[in-house]
Amino acid sequence: MEVINALKQVLSAESLLTSDEACRPFECDALSAYRERPLAVALPSDVEQVKAVLRICKQYQVPVITRGSGTGLAGGSLPLKDGIVLGLSKLNKILKIDPLQRIAIVQPGVRNIVVSEAVADYGLYYAPDPSSQIACSIGGNVAENSGGVHCLKYGLTVHNVTSIKIVDMDGTESVFDEKDDGIDLLALMNGSEGLLGVIVEIKLKLLPKPEAAQVVMAAFHSVGACADAVTRVLEQGIIPAGLEMMDKFSIMAAEAFAKVGYPTEAEALLLCEVDGSHDQVQVDAKRVADILTQAGAYQIQLSQNEAQRIALWKGRKNAFPAVGRFSPDYYCMDGTIPRSQLAYVLEEIAKLSDKYGLKVANVFHAGDGNLHPLIMYDANKPGELATTEAFGGEILKLCVDVGGTITGEHGVGVEKLNAMCHQYHTPELEIFHGIKAVFDDTGLLNPGKAVPTLHRCAELGHMHVHHGQLAHPHLERF
């Protein structure tokens, strides 16, 4: 193929994968139910090569799917049959660390955890901490505007990035910086899912490591009381560093996996971490414990030292794999709702679980209302993935209906295109398509992701009118 030959001129053989075998690891991201074999995988080693690949792809009108570490959970870096995957894992250098200014400048392929490790000696760290932080790339974090356990207090990726450099299909570089005036293009790039440009350099804000941290574990006899307790804490003027909730199934699974002493008879468990100066942490931990007791917690435990703190978190951090041991497959949702709706939405999810005959485990970022229901299913049972997706779709619809959103941190990708039709009207979608066209008039950057076509939404609308009878059943649907 001409495009492959052209790419061979700028990339060495080991940086251009074309065989089935070599391409296989790039066929999907962490949403592995969706797979596609790309034309080829380009693995440039520097920004000049990235530009060259983009120019060639433009010349031959070949779509480009940018990929970081492929840990995305929404199919954002799912290849296209006739497209090139642009893998940035070789752009993995930390270009600058300035401890006095508290910034680091990194290439996009640098893994999230590596930044905090590299600056630890200065008493600094990079705050956004997705659970996938040992693997996911900073470029991918920006493209998804990723969050983590600590983002209630320290913000999402968008709050911790002060400048980025992007490259467009012409190979032209642009810098978007917090010091710019006029509209905020830096903010726009966060969460743009690889549709607006290839991010090739990122300046990160570093924070001083908190002097102290303490976690309060509270067990509840009911999910409702636990959900209300979340509201009580925030109402009292405390912003915890982390505020995570687990339901009965997750508690059981996590305890079986990590053996950290979670009360397995509890209906719901709350882990609330406070951090800051020694003085402040002492005050806050005590207040949190009091508030949670008043809110109906029947058992409270405060970590007495760092080892205990880490142990209490260990169960939570391993909850996903722990739940995974009880089911051949699980499907992770990402809806976000107003906290006041937590109890109601969890109840509704339980009802849906009965309706679809699929178990759900709830372990999530309660502090920012970000749910991660894990639907347990078996991909080998015919039709069960489809049932799971229908169940998931209903959960997202529920989130939108209570004033929330279909995705808090994982992005739309290909997975939530239909749900986007539920969240946005036609004019907003038109604006989104307009924005895409301004940045990428070729339409070659990660086409078909993140924003549904108006046609698709119109068809979905049609679908509802006809009581589930699909219009044009021969057309492909994700």
Partner: protein
Amino acid sequence: MPQHKNIDNQVMRWCEQIKQAQVDQQIIQISGHHSKVLRDAATESLSTAGYEGIVSYEPAELVITVKAGTKLSELKAVLAQHKQMLGFEPPDYGDSTIGGTYACALTGPSRPFRGSLRDFVLGTKLIDGQGRYLSFGGRMIKNVAGYDVSRMLVGSKGSMALVTELSLRVIPLMEERSYQMEMSENEAILLMNQMAGTSLPLSAAAYYEGKFIYRVAGAHPLQTNRVGVTEIDNDIWVRLNPFRPQLPPDVKLWRLDVESTTPAIENTIAVGSCGMRRWVASKDKPNHPYTTLWQAYFAPRHNDTPRVAHLKNGLRDVFDPHHIFKQM
């Protein structure tokens, strides 16, 4: 498809006004209480003044939704009743509205520690240049569905859309104390950067009139134990924000955004934002890439690369294809 949104009468009238302006080929200047923009006789004016009030506020959700013409003073008062505040401490030029503050991307002294205005924006309702009423983002702290239009429009200065409603994240009102220490500008720049890298919960740091001034939030070690440190009133931050020094008529005020550790710049009269902002008083424009002439209204810098200018113009066409809204 989602349900139809509730549209109030004023929003409907504005939609009509904008559509009519397109027919009449009339340019519209959006303003609040004119605390930051000069009136322009050549344009039709559209004022959000009076379009005010809290749309919804549940303190436990840490989110408030307000109409764009709401005065900052009112907004702050409502939040204070529930022991909450705006984390970005916007400057109040006298009757400043939240919409105008958003449009001009104005943040106060807490910016390096708590974030800038756009960091607190969760959602907007707006009318575009075709008179369409649109909604972006929402009231969630986390939301990555669709491009982040409500943050992107921060700083758009009324040139792309009429923002009618804003949802903002709010933070608990903190007990804070302010301190000062005499020293040279360069010593202060070094010290504020060093302190920001420690666990001391700083919420503001500046240099003004020969003194390093800083503010600490919440429980913290007594600062007056440090040699040369005295406690001062917190209202120093209101006096510096907005920064409106008395200058001789031929001297201009320039706002420079720099790397926080940049050594003292000539003619600087105040250092803000923990070193990231420098206020320079001089006749001529300081030679620095991020320099803005600071007057009653804000002059844009116009120093974008061709590609960035192309992107901005393109985005303007997306929101306002007929160029109804006046450019700053």
